[in-house]
């Protein structure tokens, strides 16, 4: 049973466009939702994270939108740049104890064409 479903699997966006990646979760106990960015040959790195207390969080060109009732959250990359080309993973965890392991989606490979 896949607890975090991510779509699309791959995405091609023109430079300057908006990239949108969607995730859905099943476990209502999840209360921490980070997004990780991974470049080829590197480990994933935290990009931005949100908790269910807010519906949106923005950091620079990156925005997470969160819909608690629908159990969905999405990453929006505004003014997408070729340097944003990477694989993006959404994740979720239960934060009722320290160091909880993350449940990851299967990833979205983003290509931004110049």
């Amino acid at each position: 049973q896949q607890q975090v479903k991510q779509s699309p699997q791959s995405l091609i966006v023109q430079k300057g466009g908006i990239s949108i990646i969607n995730c859905a979760y099943e476990n209502t106990a999840f209360d921490y939702f980070p997004w990780y960015q991974q470049f080829p040959g590197k480990g994933p790195a935290l990009l931005i994270a949100i908790n269910p207390d807010v519906s949106e969080k923005k950091e620079g060109r990156f925005t997470i939108s969160f819909n608690k009732s629908a159990k969905q959250f999405s990453l929006h990359i505004m003014d997408s740049q070729p340097g944003d080309s990477a694989t993006y993973f959404c994740a979720a965890s239960r934060s009722n104890q320290a160091g909880t392991a993350l449940i990851f989606g299967k990833g979205t490979t983003l290509s931004v064409s110049s």
Binding site: D31, G43, P44, K106
Partner: protein, 117 residues
């Protein structure tokens, strides 16, 4: 400071052999995680160490997989009698795990690419 380091970066082995993968977490981080990244499958949680507590082994796929963490720092993931389906990138991450609610950033190493022939 230095990030999470893993060795070797690449490992090619024959089916049936045992392999050991090493992870050096960021100094001072009490939590350490192992994940497996297979092509098209995302990151799969394997095992989690937190301080001196018993590790969470719930993600280990079979009893051929084991891990230990010595002195609360370096960790070794061991795969016995490797199979071709074990081929993947094995990622290690560490976090401070000091904040209540478990919302510490996990810092990942570059991974070890394991190929089982």
């Amino acid at each position: 400071g230095a990030g999470v380091s893993q060795s070797p970066s690449n490992k090619v082995t024959e089916k049936g052999k045992d392999v050991e993968l090493r992870c050096d977490p960021i100094s001072g981080h009490t939590a350490l995680y192992w994940y497996r990244q297979s092509l098209g499958q995302g990151l799969e949680f394997l095992i989690y160490f937190q301080g001196n507590s018993a590790p969470d082994k719930s993600g280990l796929p079979s009893d051929r997989f084991s891990a230990e963490r010595t002195g609360g720092s370096v960790s070794t993931l061991t795969i016995q009698r490797t199979q071709q389906e074990d081929s993947a990138v094995y990622l290690c991450a560490s976090s401070l795990a000091g904040r209540p609610g478990g919302r510490d950033t996990q810092y990942f190493g570059p991974g070890t690419r394991l190929t089982v022939l």
